[in-house]
Structure formats: C-alpha cells, structure tokens
C-alpha cells in the first residue's frame, strides 16, 4: 500500500459516497452537498496527478474546478430555495412543475 494508491482509493470512496447521497437523499441541500463530495474527489485526483507528474497544471485545473463547484452550489441552492420555500415538505421527488 502506497500513498498514491491510498489517496486514489479514498477519492474513489468519496466519489461513491457522493453518488450514493445523490440517489438516496430527498433534501435538495443534501443532494447538492453530495455533488460537492463528488467534485472534491475529482479535485483530489487532479492534485494527486499534479503531484505525481511534478506538473503545476493539475493544481491550476483544480482551482478552476473549485470555482465551478462554487457556481454550481450558488445556482443549485437558489433553485432549491425558490422551489421549496413555499412548500410544507422537502422532497426532491415531489415538485411537478420542474418535472421534464
């Protein structure tokens, strides 16, 4: 077991946790947090790659992904508030107006 393999395994585990949360959760905020977990796992792999190859571009790309995650959280949270503020129950499966 080496450092890199441990970090890769941890990233895969965190990503799988995020995927589980997206499927399992009913609360839109918790779903968004699970998506953040997946984004974090991706950033971790970018940084590990940057470290292994001694290349700074991976870290720079990681910074951009971080900004992407922030923008996604802002829009997602605004949507969640707009849809669920006036409802009595919080359940992402319930609203019919945003169903395709």
């Amino acid at each position: 077991m080496t450092n890199e393999i441990l970090v890769v395994v941890a990233a895969a585990f965190v990503f799988a946790c995020g995927a589980m949360g997206v499927v399992y959760r009913k609360n839109p905020v918790a779903v968004l947090m699970s998506v953040e977990l997946m984004i974090n796992a991706a950033i971790l792999l970018l940084i590990l790659g940057s470290r292994i190859h001694g290349n700074a571009e991976g870290q720079a790309a990681g910074l951009l992904v971080l900004v992407l995650g922030a923008a996604e959280a802002v829009v997602g949270l605004a949507l969640a508030l707009a849809v669920f503020r006036s409802r009595s129950r919080v359940d992402v499966d319930e609203p019919k107006e945003i169903a395709g």
Binding site: F13, A19, M20, R25, A30, L66, R85, V90, D91
Partner: protein, 239 residues
Amino acid sequence: MRPARRSGHDDHELAAGGSPPLRARAGERTRADDEAETPTTPTTTKQETTTRRLDRPGKPANRAGMELSAPVAVCCALAALSALGVVLLRRPVHVALGLLGHSLSMAALYLTLSAQLMAVAQTLIYSGAIVVLFLIVVTLLPEGGQEKLSFGGIFLAVMAGAAVLAVLGGALAGFFAPGSTAALPVLAGEGPSVKEVGKPLFSTLVVPFELTAPLLLAAIVTAIALWRRQEKPRAGGLD
C-alpha cells in the same frame, strides 16, 4: 561518460609511447587510472540507475517516496469518514457540519501532497463560503429541511454506490498493477509553488480561466433572478 574516459585513457597510452620519463609518468597515471577504475564501476552502475530512474520513475530507488505515511493515511481516513457522515446523517445541520469536516480534511490532505495554494483555496472557498451558504439555506428551508428517507432508497443508494465503486475500480485497475507505467511515485521534496501554479492559468489554461468570469456572473444573475421571482411585487417597490 564512459567512452570519453576511455579515449582519455588511450591518449595517455599514446603519450606513453614517446619518451621513457613520459612513459614512466604516464605509467603512473595509468596505474592511478586503473586504481580509479575499480571504484568507478559502482559509480557507473549508479549512473545507470540514475538514468533508469529518469526513464522510469517509480522503480526501486524511489521506493522511499512511495511508502505509506501517517499524515496521508489519517487525512484519507478523516475525509472518507466525514463523506460517510454527509451521506448517512439525518439532520441537515449535521450533514453541513460533516461537509465542513470533509472539506477541512481534504485541505489537510492537499497540504500533505504539497499543494499549499489548493489547501488555502479549499479552506477559504469551501469551508469559509460554500458550507456557510449551505447552512444559511438549511435554516431557510421548511422544517429545517428534515426528510423522510425510505428503506428502498437505502437499497438503491447502496447499489448505486457499489456500481460507481466497481466502475472506478475497473478504470483504476491499471494504477494498482505493480510495475504499470501509471504507478508513478509521489515526487519527493516541494511541490509546485504558487507562482508555478499561477503560470498555466495565464498560458495553457487561459481560456477556461477567462470563462470562469462569465460563469460566476451568470451564477450570480441566476441566483438573484430566481429569488426575485419568489418575492411578491410591492407597491412602490422596484418592480
């Protein structure tokens, strides 16, 4: 390196053919060279290993850099545990705190990987801004965002998690194989400095970097537009 040395040796021998005193001196030199030759053999092997290390980093000489270190293990364990907490905890406030712990342990993990800039950015942007935003939204949701989770949902979620893990494991199988080219070692010493990380943002990654500006602007405009649709138009207000 070695052929050059040989030719120098030949030059001495040629010179040795000249006059007796020269030969004597040259003879001394050759003996000295011969004596030097014996310890040179390990040097050459060392050079060979150096070139091999450059060609295929990750082979035996760099083993020390690959061994499992305690800080990395602790940070990985914390990140995995807090990720589980995010998925399994019931109350949204606890989930947000789990995400806070996860983001902080990720920042520590970045530090162990010598990515100082990313560690600072993770702490400031994720722990400082995004988690606080999540907490504010949790308080604004009805019933504090309490949810009713079903048993079938758990089963489905475990299936989804197992499927994702299987797919990732298959994709990363090459990484685990011993002697694969993908299994490069973590380099010893310092990682790239902030200056080096900033350079690609203005050269190779300049287009994505510039595109983050309209992205953030669009995110802000969307958030405000979505929120204003919720507000009742007020008499004499801005609407």
